[in-house]
């Protein structure tokens, strides 16, 4: 998709494949209390698009993926909100078996550490064939043939040989390719990719990103790409959501977000990204202070202690999302004139 096409809002009839409505997730803090780690997270994934979810460590971006999958770590609980998957409704109201079936067939995930997702004592071929036999009811032989095709699809070098390899025999990039093949085995509609290239060298990262792009193009995959790297987002995503301290603080088409960020945190994050460009020679700027502990959030806007544009209401009230432009929403009182969408949490 060209950036221009990404700028224009999609016609309303484009159906959402997945929509989070005001999802809140908390963790038991050891005592009787619950610490909220996702607060009022609303996201929409339109069919065929790639939505980038960015933020720094601890902002809740990975947890959002786990929440969608129904795989909250021990101690985590859903506090409120809905996870709507097209055709089945709110996943949270489904019986566990139905959620599991939806997860296996329609949603697949690729994580940062391929080694920790692959079974170390089974061959790559066996692991892919297992999914094919379970979800697509293929025979042993058909599953093996399909597994080989999948490895070819993800451009694994020497696929026939690699079917018989164990995960540790592969390089990092090959492991990530195997994991992507595994994710594709159930022919999912939605791929959650959590930092899929973070552990890889930059030349291999470029190859894997290109692979993900070609899979979207050819299979019509919808993708949620979770990353801390704004470069990766700029190269891959049509829309971007920025998270801070468990909230989505801004959501916008990619070009809009990079050109005219609406939230001071987004602007600060963009200014901190190191760039290759030499001409400008503007040094990157860090953000003063540090991310607040989720158990001890400041009053008002969570970002206000670090914000360079802080004023009256920021210290007392939590800002709602304001609509700045078609498709661009920011959780910041600077845009108080704009129409607010949704109530403040």
């Amino acid at each position: 998709m060209t950036p221009d096409a990404a700028m224009t809002p999609d016609p309303p009839e484009t159906p959402d494949l997945l929509a989070l409505h005001a999802l809140s997730v908390g963790f038991a803090d050891g005592g009787a209390g619950v610490v909220p780690v996702l607060r009022d997270v609303s996201l929409r994934l339109r069919r065929g698009e790639c939505l980038g979810l960015v933020g720094e460590s601890g902002c809740g971006k990975s947890l959002t993926a786990l929440a969608i999958l129904g795989l909250l770590p021990p101690g985590g609980t859903y506090l409120a909100g809905r996870i709507e998957l097209a055709g089945v409704g709110d996943l949270r109201t489904l019986p566990p078996r139905a959620w599991r079936r939806a997860r296996g067939r329609r949603i697949a995930a690729v994580f940062q550490e391929p080694m920790s997702c692959l079974n170390p004592v089974l061959t790559i071929g066996f692991q892919i064939a297992e999914v094919l036999r379970l979800h697509r009811r293929l025979s042993r032989r058909a599953a093996r043939r399909a597994a080989r095709e999948l490895l070819e699809r993800v451009a694994m070098p020497d696929p026939e040989h690699r079917l018989k390899s164990y995960p540790h025999e592969l390089s990092g990039g090959q492991q990530q390719r195997a994991l992507i093949a595994l994710a594709l085995a159930s022919e999912p509609e939605l791929l959650l990719a959590d930092e899929p290239t973070t552990a890889l060298d930059v030349t291999v990262q470029a190859q894997i990103l290109e692979l993900l792009r070609s899979l979207r193009r050819e299979l019509g995959l919808t993708m949620l790409l979770i990353t801390h790297d704004l470069g990766v987002v700029a190269q891959c995503c049509e829309r971007v959501a920025v998270m801070y301290a468990g909230q989505v603080v801004e959501e916008a088409p990619a070009a809009t977000l990079f050109d005219s960020p609406g939230h001071p945190y987004t602007r600060a994050l963009l200014a901190a990204v190191p760039r290759l460009s030499l001409g400008g020679d503007a040094p990157t700027r860090g953000i003063p202070g540090r991310v607040p502990e989720l158990g001890a959030l400041p009053d008002g806007c969570s970002f206000h202690p670090r914000c360079d544009r802080v004023f009256g209401p920021c210290r007392r009230h939590s800002p709602p999302l304001f609509e700045l432009a078609p498709g661009q929403r920011a959780r910041c009182f600077l845009h108080g004139d704009a129409a607010s969408v949704g109530a403040a949490p």
Binding site: P3, L209, G286
Partner: protein
């Protein structure tokens, strides 16, 4: 500029034997030259397995090089005895990537910073406290950190502590191994500006080991690009970034994701991955992945030659693969 640290032909191999197998030999660093002057920052750049960390360790004799010369301020470092080396290490210190594992978990920040002062007998016992507080201030940590343990600090604070510990003995050279790789960009930017300040203020020489070209662009004066243990290109930063001579450097630059959705990059030019250093390809080590490899590249190892631009490149056909220069030189604008 006179060189503070200079290495020539530095080589380090690892070998091991397993039962019923022939002994294997891995050349991690292969005849590498390095030179850094006072107040200068040299970046060692490469992907995993390029030998950049091993080289960094050899430069301090944390690992013993097998061959080559190594001098610090004109003195032969390889000739020093262990005791002499320990005393000399006051002049060159290292900051490690894994700030979680770089500190004794049982020591408080105060003790961590007093230890090097005691070892090198620098500040009198009574004055050490003030000295330590001064160090914390220099790296932007408050005195409230004094009685904490390293694990109670955030990643960025621990990296500051690592820098403070290295600075405690007033070194003339810092070797930093991926000092910002594990940090979020907002913290990364602050550590980089701290390092730049320290270099300007103290006239420190720095060797900055990193896989991240965008970070290197922020801080380095000169850049050496390593591939399979060899220098494939080295020169002034601006020259190397604007007109890379080695196809590997050009590919590395082209692979960096540009944080601008209007400048989407064409598909990756470079195929394959860095080969195993146990079984390096014959000829030019880069030829299996090189977009312009020819017969000669498969047979003949290219020597590192200095070109007219002042950049040195180990390539038979330097400058043939160009990156889209305007892409790099146009100032990115953040509104």
């Amino acid at each position: 500029m006179s060189e503070l640290l200079a290495a020539r032909g530095l080589t380090r191999t690892f070998s091991w034997r397993r039962p019923f197998q022939r002994p294997r030999r891995l050349v991690a660093v292969d005849r590498v030259d390095v030179a850094v002057a006072r107040g200068e920052c040299l970046a060692l750049v490469g992907e995993s397995g390029s030998g950049k960390t091993t080289l960094g360790r050899c430069l301090l004799r944390l690992l013993e090089p097998d061959a080559g010369e190594l001098t610090f301020a004109g003195e032969d470092l390889l000739a020093l005895s262990a005791g002499e080396l320990r005393r000399r290490r006051r002049d060159f210190q290292m900051v490690f990537q894994d700030s979680g594992g770089a500190f004794n978990p049982r020591l408080r920040v105060r003790q961590i910073l007093e230890e090097p002062l005691a070892i090198h007998d620098l500040a009198p016992k009574a004055g050490r406290r003030a000295h330590v507080a001064g160090l914390l201030g220099k790296v932007g940590l408050g005195e409230s950190a004094l009685e904490r343990y390293a694990h109670q600090l955030s990643g960025g604070q621990r990296q500051r502590l690592g820098i403070a510990r290295a600075l405690a003995v007033e070194p003339r050279l810092l070797i930093l191994d991926e000092p910002v790789a594990a940090l979020d960009v907002s913290v990364q930017a602050r550590i980089l500006s701290l390092l730049t300040e320290l270099r300007d203020e103290l006239g420190l020489a720095m060797i900055f080991i990193s896989h991240d070209l965008a970070v290197v662009q922020q801080i380095a004066d000169r850049v050496a690009v390593l591939y399979l243990g060899r220098t494939v290109e080295s020169g002034r930063r601006d020259e190397v970034f604007r007109r890379p001579q080695h196809p590997y450097t050009a590919s590395l630059l082209a692979a960096v994701p540009v944080p601008d959705p209007r400048r989407r990059r064409p598909p990756a030019a470079l195929s394959g991955e860095i080969p195993s250093p146990l079984d390096p390809p014959p000829g030019c080590p880069f030829h299996p992945r090189c977009p312009i490899a020819r017969d000669r590249c498969r047979r003949e190892v290219p020597a590192l030659r200095t070109l007219a631009s002042g950049t040195a490149a180990a390539c038979h056909y330097p400058g043939e693969v160009a990156v889209a220069v305007e892409e790099l030189s146009a100032p990115d604008f953040v509104g």
